[in-house]
Subunit: 139 residues, 2 copies
DNA sequence: TTGCTCCTCACGTCACGTGAGGTGGC
DNA sequence: TTGCTCCTCACGTCACGTGAGGTGGC
């Protein structure tokens, strides 16, 4: 799957297509429960011009995650809300470290290349020389 | 405050000095509540040889954080437990990105320097360029 | 009209904190 | 003995899910 497919998939998932009874069935909860979740700010389904809720695939995923936290792990809605926010932060930070690791590898390769061309010597991957053991394997 | 002071402070904070009634007073909770928290795995006070609980300064800080989450934010104990774990992960990831940013800056400086020396610039000892700060000072 | 939606209100259950009650070791 | 600790049990309160009841628009 390439990036265009990702984007297409993402758009597809955002589409508000399910009415409340279907969303409730898909998420395995009472429709009234979905109204409670909305009032507490846990999901924000779209509304039709007739003021009817419409849930997207992504909303359903979120609802299932909420079910896991409440039913299986016994966490209340205030806790679920904070946890979902923190998961977002964690996700962003993980992306950031991954990006930094890539940039660092590239920069070290560049430094090595320009130094070896300077000496006219052999090219040795820098990270094998200087990176500490816990950095040398992919992570 | 230098690193030795940090270490001393840390040890000081870990010291199990408060009996349950004092810990409860400092944290602003009922002693029985502290026993509940322990049973649920939210705090692990030390025990004396006579099986009496002893709380450290760090335990008190943790208890105050728990109070904030439960009383002010309305989160139940299952939620508090997960949130505390996630806060640990976030903290570790933040340290990691900070470290990576430092390494990246150093590497880019090195690449820049060796590129300029290639053009007839000044030569800089390699280890000063590549050793990250946390490796160049004792720790 | 039928079957959905919207909303509010009430009830049952459960988690949690508080407190009582009885015990034992400095 | 006094004042603490240890524990278990019970009660009150509150959050949450379920459901009923009444409304309105395709």
């Amino acid at each position: 799957m390439d990036e265009r497919d990702d984007a297409a998939m993402s758009q597809y998932r955002e589409r508000a297509v399910y009415i409340i009874s279907v969303a409730a069935e898909l998420a395995g909860v009472h429709p009234q429960t979905l109204r409670i979740y909305e009032r507490k700010g846990l999901v924000q389904p779209k509304r039709t011009s007739g003021n009817t809720r419409r849930y997207s695939e992504r909303d359903i995923e979120r609802l299932r995650a909420i079910q896991d936290l409440t039913q299986d792990q016994g966490i209340n809605l205030a806790g679920v809300k904070m946890i979902i926010e923190m998961q977002g932060e964690l996700e962003a930070l993980r992306r950031r470290t991954k990006e930094l690791e890539t940039l660092l590898r590239a920069s070290r390769r560049a430094a090595q290349l320009s130094r070896s061309s300077e000496r006219g010597g052999q090219i040795v991957p820098l990270r094998n020389v200087f990176l500490p053991p816990w950095e040398s394997s992919a992570r």
